[in-house]
């Protein structure tokens, strides 16, 4: 036996209370991990952005399109290996009205060259290139909608009205976690040549342009060069690395993310209060026993160590339990569900290993914090007064 054993054995004194406290801590840790995972899911696109890509949009706002000819000019800029434009299409499947997915008009060959992390089997890729009404969809979207290669689907345009008929040429997967596996991509020409685009005065426009550069360290310099080229034109551009561009999108919901961040910390603060109250209750109940320990020679620091040891054992047990609950819940359940059904918002919803480490470290630290005041009070007990207390 040693002092650690004594501290841990004390937890068995009121098993129900200990179990409920561990459960309370684990709920707080599960909530913390979920909220941190929501945050990391939002920032995953920025965190995992390619270093060798530069995005270009209209200088005023990303909702104002750019002339398509800019694409050809950007390809000529030294250091740019290739470039692709994309237009937000915005469509719904009338058979699945409530399902949201991103739909884009792109030049297939250029787009797959710039986004080489998007993997389409060679024969499907070739079929897409050859079929003007062909489309490729992410594996998550195909699974959700029940689409297979060769299926004909009709989407209803929300920006460009009318029924749009497509044939599924391929299903893509991805080798980078930031890629949304629930997007729908089709030929730019199919959109651009339509009457709907003509009616909207949107012919030969692209929503944004993404360039592949040969030296990631020159991303900032090439961005400036691109913007300088169009600086005197009617439509000026704003270029930045893909990471910066993704971050700027996240910036639009930064207040929400900040709130989630704060809530995740508030949860831990509540955990400290719950744990602190339980520990303080235990100290009050055991005042007489602490008096006995002090009488037989234990020092104030020993009593403090017992209290902190107990609290940290509970908090770490709660932390480990929280991690054990969160991990399968997110990795095998919620994360998979969100990726398959809400891939446009959460292309990668998985627990970051760093979050697990933080959760366990914080559980340990907060256990110590929760025990600080009760431990201090226990260590300041006067032996005679403590012995008089009957608990």
């Amino acid at each position: 036996m040693n002092m650690g054993v004594v501290a841990v054995r004390n937890l068995g004194r009121n098993k129900l209370r200990t179990l409920l406290t561990i459960a309370g801590v684990s709920v707080a840790i599960v909530t913390f991990i979920l909220l941190r995972t929501v945050l990391s899911a939002w920032t995953v696109a920025a965190d995992h952005a390619a270093k060798d890509r530069v995005g270009t949009r209209h200088k005023v706002s990303f909702i104002i399109p750019l002339p398509k000819r800019y694409l050809e000019e950007i390809k000529q800029i030294p250091g740019v290996k290739g470039a692709a434009g994309a237009n937000w299409f915005g469509a719904k499947d009338p058979k699945h009205e409530t399902e949201f997915f991103g739909s884009f008009a792109v030049d297939p060959e250029e787009y797959l060259e710039v986004y080489d992390e998007i993997i389409v089997p060679p024969e499907q890729r070739e079929a897409w290139f050859q079929n003007r009404t062909g489309a490729v969809v992410g594996d998550a979207l195909a699974k959700k909608m029940g689409w297979k290669v060769g299926d004909r689907v009709t989407l209803v345009g929300t920006i460009y009205p009318g029924d749009w008929e497509f044939q599924i040429s391929g299903i893509y997967t991805a080798v980078r976690k930031s890629v949304d596996r629930s997007s729908f991509m089709f030929h730019y020409d199919y959109l651009n040549d339509s009457q709907a685009v003509a009616n909207a005065n949107s012919k030969d426009l692209v929503g944004w342009i993404v360039s592949r550069i040969d030296d990631p360290s020159r991303a900032a310099e090439i961005s400036r060069t691109i913007d300088a080229r169009f600086d005197e034109r009617d439509q000026q551009t704003l270029s930045m690395s893909e990471r910066a561009m993704n971050t700027s999108f996240i910036g639009m919901i930064s207040a929400i993310l900040k709130a989630v961040d704060v809530v995740s910390l508030v949860i831990l603060f509540i955990m400290v209060l719950i744990l602190g109250n339980t520990v303080a209750m235990g100290v009050r109940e055991r005042t007489h026993e602490y008096g006995v320990l002090r009488a037989i020679g234990f020092l104030p620091k020993h009593l403090a160590a017992f209290v902190v040891g107990e609290a940290m054992t509970v908090s770490v047990a709660g932390g480990v339990l929280g991690v054990m609950i969160s991990y399968p819940f997110v990795q095998e359940g919620l994360g998979r569900f969100l990726e398959e059904n809400m891939g446009a918002f959460c292309p990668f919803f998985r627990i970051d290993p760093a979050t697990i480490v933080w959760a366990l470290l914080l559980a340990m630290l907060l256990g110590a914090v929760a025990a600080a005041l009760p431990a201090y009070n226990a260590s300041r007990l006067k032996v005679i007064d403590a012995l008089r207390r009957t608990g």
Partner: protein, 245 residues
């Protein structure tokens, strides 16, 4: 040894722990204890003188509020006198700082309480082993062996793995006695050791205390209300209103 424990040892040495302090193990000289109750002073012990010799088995008796428990607390180093000197096992206990007094108690005093005060989550053996956690230089095995020996002395070796809730009151008190003797203290202080026991169990406990005194030469100071218990002591001190009669 840590710096703090060296400093504690110095404190004890300064307070006069020394060999050859004579046969008196407890010397109380003009000891006065005053508690403050609100704005009023309550004098519990009044210029009390008391000497107890090594190997003694002495009882302190008196009505409630006579100061017997206060005197026992001062002898055991749980409290300090307001004035006067109290030397126990060679140390001027009243002048020792808190940490040094705790260390001194661990080395010199064995406690027996009225309500046994076992830790319910530890077995009998672990409860007896508890004070040995403070003794440096003892391995886990040594601690265990000593605790077993102490339990054998009180006749509870076969119950060493039992928890306090699985023992009778008399057995619990015997475990408490084993805990009190396991560190081989110079002085055992017992506060109403039979107060919660039936006559038969009380008698067993008193026989055990007598045996510790006679066979193991342990000095015992016992506070009791019970005249039958006091009869087993070699000497009885009567207190009333903070003074020895």
């Amino acid at each position: 040894m840590s710096t703090s424990s060296v400093s504690v040892d110095r404190d004890i040495a300064r307070a006069g722990v020394a060999a050859g302090s004579g046969a008196a193990i407890v010397e109380a000289i003009k000891v006065r204890k005053v508690y403050q109750r609100g704005k009023e002073d309550l004098t519990v012990l009044q210029d009390l003188d008391l000497t107890i010799h090594e190997g003694a088995f002495e009882a302190l008796m008196g009505p409630s509020g006579s100061g017997k428990s206060t005197l026992l607390n001062l002898i055991a180093g749980l409290d300090r006198p307001t004035s006067g000197t109290i030397r126990v096992a060679g140390a001027d206990v009243g002048t020792l700082p808190e940490r040094a007094r705790a260390k001194w108690r661990a080395a010199n005093i064995g406690f027996i309480f009225q309500t046994y005060n076992m830790m319910p989550v530890l077995t009998a053996l672990e409860n007896v082993e508890l004070p040995l956690l403070l003794a440096s230089g003892l391995s886990s095995k040594d601690r265990r062996e000593r605790a077993k020996t102490a339990l054998s002395v009180v006749g509870l070796a076969e119950r060493m793995q039992h928890y306090p809730r699985e023992l009778s009151g008399g057995q619990e008190q015997r475990v408490a006695i084993a805990r009190a003797i396991v560190t081989d203290p110079k002085l055992i202080v017992a506060d109403e050791p039979t107060g919660d026991l039936d006559r038969k169990s009380a008698d067993d406990i008193l026989k055990l205390l007598e045996r510790l005194n006679q066979e193991f030469r342990k000095t015992i100071v016992m506070v009791t209300h019970d005249p039958a218990a006091a009869e087993r002591a070699k000497k009885v001190h009567h207190l009333d209103k903070g003074a020895l009669l």
